[in-house]
């Protein structure tokens, strides 16, 4: 075959493959929005579900999911900032650097179901907390920790060393330098990571389904150690009754709400990242 023909064949092949994958991804989005919008209404968003979720709305599921992610954010953000600042400003030896790297990458790689099992053994059974939204929040916080740490760390790392030296030269102590020079950047970068982390946390099912949620019969929790309902576990229970058309319709509606919440977080993260890279130029 001549080289020219090969070139054409190769390009056609690439275009076909790209059409397939982009087509599949378009199909997913279309199905979600099309099925979702026909299932959703204002009534659906503000009413309680009934008949195992196949009728009624998803008000308490939304509240539960928001509660879980807010809890995760409050716990993991300060922890991640401290970690990022310590890693970039205080650790001098390479052994500790490698250890912190391994910790971050391991946390990021652990399958989400493993976090669920860990929560079930450690909190629910050993510490006797029972099924609780607070425990779910802690587990989700651990899961999104590496995303926030890395984002914050990268942002601190891009501060030129001369800034630090200038600040020290003015006679500031280490903590004053950290507080005035490092901290604002750490918060700024960490917040982008937080948004990305929350986009992941709000859709996670496996880590919370044994430890934080109940499928029905609970409303707004009165204390830390009570279960909630959540959007992803609601979809799970509806997907298991998929032969029932009204359950399936509610599942599409719930999925659309969940995906819109995910997109709110991830699109704001993209916008922040875009602004940041513009400022740098």
């Amino acid at each position: 075959m001549s080289r020219k023909l090969q070139n054409i064949a190769f390009k056609t092949f690439v275009c076909i493959a790209a059409t397939i994958s982009i087509g599949v991804l378009l199909f997913l989005i279309t199905v979600l929005f099309w099925k979702g919008f026909s299932a959703i209404s204002f009534e659906f968003l503000i009413s309680d579900s009934s008949n195992f979720g196949s009728e009624g709305g998803i008000a308490y599921q939304i509240i539960g999911s928001v509660l879980l992610t807010a809890c995760a954010a409050i716990i993991s953000f300060p922890l991640a900032l401290g970690f990022a600042i310590y890693k970039s400003e205080y650790i001098k030896n390479s052994y500790l650097q490698n250890l912190t790297d391994t910790v971050i990458y391991s946390l990021n790689g652990i399958p989400s179901i493993i976090f669920g099992i860990f929560g079930l053994i450690f909190f629910v059974n050993l510490l006797q907390t029972g099924v609780s939204w607070f425990v779910g929040g802690i587990i989700l916080a651990i899961m999104i920790l590496p995303t926030i740490i890395l984002s914050s760390y990268q942002s601190i790392n891009s501060i030129p060393n001369s800034y630090r030296e200038n600040a020290f030269g003015l006679g500031l102590t280490k903590w004053q330098v950290v507080k005035t020079v490092i901290f604002p950047r750490a918060v700024n970068g960490g917040f982008t990571g937080l948004l990305l982390g929350l986009a992941r946390a709000i859709g996670e099912t496996a880590p919370i389904m044994f430890i934080a949620t109940a499928f029905s019969g609970v409303t707004i929790p009165n204390g830390l150690f009570e279960p909630v309902r959540s959007l992803p576990t609601h979809i799970l229970s509806l997907a298991q009754q998929a032969t029932n058309p009204s359950a399936l319709e509610n599942a599409w509606g719930t999925s659309l709400v969940l995906i819109l919440l995910v997109f709110v977080f991830s699109i704001s993260a993209f916008v922040r990242r875009l602004q940041y890279s513009k400022n740098k130029q």
Partner: protein, 288 residues
């Protein structure tokens, strides 16, 4: 005042770091201790075929088979498709459309796995069962196909980054030598990006191994290795789907519970190994 602030500040960052390190250690220890019973009582019989908790038979071979075959199918589809799509986005279409398509694909990477599971149940399993004329569409193949779609955005994004980061001069030099575009791509660009492509595949591998919800809904959850073993049009079970299905039903402290933990522990070890290999490979250049 300043000195004490200095100490409090140092204390804060120190505590956050060591607390995070401790969390990973605690996860490891807790998983190991709670699966110790299974390792001590069942031993090598873990790697046998029969799973029947009421008869104290705990063989996890069929789940290991399920995980390996589902992952194999998923990567077998998504890696070639992902590489070609990345080439399309980075090399073929005009630069101005690149960012739009890429952001759209990155957004898709964030769709929660339970939603993929729902789509799989509503569409894919019906398609598979009517196409292959099967009694049920919940098979190893269905789970593998769905998983390949789930990891496709990750693979495309990472490989596209790798290709796009190659400086323009390589393309210009190769064009100047009179090479066609496909020769530039296969002989110049892909060899340069080889390492990053391998990294992307490893990352996708880690994700595919640990994926739970979509696989659990679609694989059929039957603890059996099909006959013959490559007949993936049968229902099966992965390590993760086993955990998702049964851990809520088993009693804390029982041998059953401990064996499920052992499955989790094995999965943990496998994924951590893959992760650490990826990390060594990349020497911390790569963002997550």
């Amino acid at each position: 005042m300043s000195a004490s602030q200095n100490n409090i500040g140092k204390c804060y960052v120190l505590v956050s770091t060591y607390l995070s390190i401790a969390i990973v250690a605690i996860i490891f220890v807790v998983l190991f201790l709670s699966s110790y019973d299974a390792f001590a009582n069942i031993g090598w019989d873990l790697f046998s075929l029969e799973w029947n908790p009421s008869k104290d038979k705990f063989g996890i071979l069929s789940m290991i088979y399920g995980t390996v075959s589902v992952t194999f199918i998923a990567l077998g589809i998504s890696v070639p498709l992902g590489i070609l799509t990345a080439i399309f986005i980075s090399e073929i279409i005009p630069e101005k459309y690149r960012l739009y398509i890429k952001s759209a694909i990155e957004l898709l990477a964030g769709i929660p796995s339970i939603i993929y599971g729902l789509i799989g149940i509503a569409f894919f399993s019906a398609w598979v069962s009517s196409f292959f004329e099967l009694p049920t569409g919940r098979t190893i193949l269905t789970a593998g196909i769905l998983l390949s779609i789930m990891i496709l955005p990750t693979i495309v994004t990472l490989i596209e980054d790798a290709l796009h980061n190659i400086p323009k001069k390589y393309r210009e030099a190769s064009k100047g030598l009179g090479l066609y575009q496909f020769e530039t791509i296969t002989k110049t660009l892909l060899p340069i990006a080889k390492k990053d492509i391998a990294g992307a595949v490893l990352l996708a591998l880690g994700r595919a191994l640990g994926e739970t919800m979509a696989v659990m809904l679609l694989i059929g959850s039957i603890d059996r290795i099909p006959e013959p073993f490559y007949n993936v049009l049968n229902p099966g079970q992965t390590m993760t789907s086993k955990l998702g299905r049964e851990i809520g039903e088993s009693a804390f402290g029982s041998l059953h519970f401990s064996t499920l933990n052992a499955i989790g522990f094995l999965l943990f070890l496998i994924v951590i190994t893959v992760t650490i290999i990826t990390q060594l490979y990349f020497k911390k250049e790569r963002r997550l």
